[in-house]
């Protein structure tokens, strides 16, 4: 037998991988676990099991409103970026003059590289300067769109970059015009990039803190802001319940995407 004999290094490697996974997943599991705690504090060891903190959460209208606000911001960010991020990627990869491709790519990714707090401060000044201020949640929505833009742009750009353009030429030679070729050949090919990008944009927008803190309208908190406010004065497992519900919601979102467009299309 010349089968693969496990060396010491193989065992060390397996152990390392296991440790990394534990390091990543343990906090999430811990939070989920604590949300079912029967005790008064967000602490171990758990004092019994109960659903009372979920009850406390759902009877707390502030959390509910914050969650709706966050969901709406995230959904709009994902949808708007799904359109403008995709269009921007198409322009930069396909139509921009060759010497501008790289500068534009960097520029489009700038929101990722500039510290979020600086973007937030700049936008704050800007919106007050132009007279919009923090009315109508316009500032916070645009802030979210801006910060999550690169996720769609970069995903679509890389999908476009790896796309074999002779497929488009094949479609043209078969008699399809430019628009039909885009709709039936190019778009399906970059769809995984668009969906992945939108999913990222949604999750990041749902999670983002600094931008929301500076640009929010008076009295309208996002879920992370509400959670932070809550934790400043309380330290009970309601916070863990909020986290558990968010995790469950994200999970549901992924399942819905899988059921409708299919995660199999999201292979890289």
């Amino acid at each position: 037998m010349t089968g693969a004999r496990k060396t010491l290094w193989d065992h060390v490697f397996t152990l390392l991988v296991a440790l990394i996974y534990i390091f990543l997943i343990a906090p999430i599991l811990l939070v989920v676990l604590l949300s079912f705690s029967g005790g008064e504090f967000l602490a171990l060891p758990m004092e019994g099991v109960s659903l009372r903190w979920f009850e406390a959460l759902f009877s707390n209208s502030r959390f509910y409103e914050a969650a709706v606000h966050s969901f709406r911001l995230a959904l709009v960010s994902a949808l708007v970026n799904g359109v403008i991020g995709t269009l921007a990627a198409i322009y930069v990869i396909r139509f921009a003059p060759a010497h501008l491709t790289n500068p534009l790519r960097v520029l489009m990714s700038a929101p990722l590289m500039v510290p979020e707090i600086l973007t937030a401060i700049a936008l704050l000044f800007f919106f007050f300067e132009v007279g919009v201020g923090n009315r109508w949640s316009m500032a916070i929505q645009i802030g979210h769109i801006l910060v999550t833009f690169p996720y769609v742009f970069l995903n679509v750009a890389s999908a476009l970059f790896n796309f074999d353009r002779s497929q488009e030429e094949a479609a043209r030679s078969l008699g399809a015009n430019g628009w039909l070729t885009f709709r039936r050949v190019t778009l399906p090919a970059i769809k995984p990039g668009v969906i992945t990008g939108c999913l990222f944009a949604f999750v990041i927008s749902f999670d983002i803190f600094n931008i929301s803190l500076l640009l929010k309208s008076v009295g309208k908190n996002t879920l992370p802001l509400e959670l932070f406010d809550y934790l400043r004065y309380n330290f009970d497992p309601t916070a863990a319940a909020v986290a558990t519900v968010s995790i469950a919601l994200t999970f549901v979102a992924v399942l819905i995407v899988d059921a409708t467009v299919g995660l199999r299309s999201l292979r890289f």
Partner: protein, 347 residues
């Protein structure tokens, strides 16, 4: 009848002159190969015909209609790409259906034509498969079927066999040629493989550095090259430089460093010329032309032996000898070749 006419096509990329005055008339049902080394402009020529590249000068006409500025989708052609360019998110049947749907063919008609074409490329039963579930050879046949199902006026093939392994490539040569003859479709085939071009074509267009070096039947190209480039690119050749000193009937008498040679050649030769002899036409016995030399190297090829021979004047020849030839490096050898097997062209 001319299906496709290229009239003094020129193409520039910036200041690079890629195609220089390409003229070509292609008759209905003809199989034409564009053959040449990479960078010779053969693919660019094909892409100009397809409409993927705009020509900088000259005109392209399909069946007498000027199509120089027409969009690719208006040109009525089918194209097979080196990468096949199958639509990965569509099944085999959907790939074939695409061109028919775009042409607004009725569903019942579509199905019939898809079934017919798949049968033609021996892929019946593969309708529901996705391209990634097929082997390279099968994908290639799907690409061929997708181009043929729309029954285009001209079929364009861009190095379609380059990504296949050697044995499959040999089979596919005959398969494509056979299919082309059955369908009777005018075909332009781009390749850098001279073997493919010789086996498949009615006519070969040898290109080099953006110009047409020679255009003719495989036999003409192989036996009567008009330039050193063509002689060297197609098959193996031995060439000698010389000077025309006279004529003996059909034949030229040409003075070379290795003595006078009798050859046939392009009409009207005078002055400096080159003489070409293919290795398989040189024997190890005296002939119309006889040269003496010394074996420099022998290479065993299985079916035969390749001999490298140097003459007293320093000219090098390669020739074939039987596999059991006793000739070893260093031995003296007499070479002979018939006058009508040697060919002279302008130097």
């Amino acid at each position: 009848m001319t299906t496709l006419r290229l009239d003094r096509i020129n193409k520039f990329y910036g200041t690079l002159h890629i195609l220089k005055d390409i003229d070509l008339d292609i008759a209905q049902g003809e199989f034409i190969s564009l053959l040449g080394p990479s960078g010779c402009g053969k693919t660019t020529t094909l892409r100009c015909i397809a409409g993927f590249e705009a020509v900088s000068g000259g005109s392209i006409a399909f069946g007498g209609r000027d199509m120089t500025r027409a969009m690719p989708e208006q040109r009525d052609l089918g194209m097979v790409f080196q990468s096949y360019a199958l639509f990965p998110h569509m099944t085999v049947a959907e790939n074939l259906s695409f061109g028919l749907e775009v042409r607004k063919i009725a569903p019942a008609d579509r199905e019939r034509r898809i079934a017919q074409t798949l049968e033609m490329v021996r892929l019946t039963g593969y309708e529901k498969r996705f391209p990634r579930e097929l082997s390279g050879g099968q994908q290639q046949r799907v690409a061929l079927a997708r181009a043929l199902v729309i029954e285009p006026a001209v079929l364009l093939l861009d190095e379609p066999l380059a990504n296949l392994d050697a044995s499959l490539r040999d089979d596919m040569r005959f398969f494509i040629r056979d299919l082309q003859q059955r369908v009777g479709i005018t075909t332009i085939y781009v390749t850098h493989d001279q073997g493919e071009a010789l086996v498949m074509s009615d006519r070969i267009v040898v290109m080099n550095r953006g110009v047409v070096e020679q255009c003719g039947s495989p036999r003409e190209i192989y036996e009567r090259p008009q330039s050193l480039m063509v002689a060297d690119f197609i098959g193996q050749s031995n060439t000698l430089t010389g000077r025309v000193t006279g004529r003996e009937g059909e034949l030229y008498v040409i003075a070379t460093e290795d003595g006078p040679l009798r050859t046939h050649g392009a009409p009207g030769l005078a002055g400096e010329v080159r003489v070409m002899v293919r290795p398989e036409n040189i024997g190890t016995a005296p002939g119309d032309n006889t040269l003496r030399g010394r074996v420099v190297k022998t290479t065993y090829l299985g079916a035969s032996c390749l001999l490298n021979i140097e003459t007293a004047a320093g000219s090098r020849f390669t020739t074939h000898a039987p596999a059991d030839s006793p000739l070893a490096p260093g031995s003296e050898v007499t070479m002979g070749f018939a006058a009508h097997k040697a060919w002279a062209f302008a130097a």
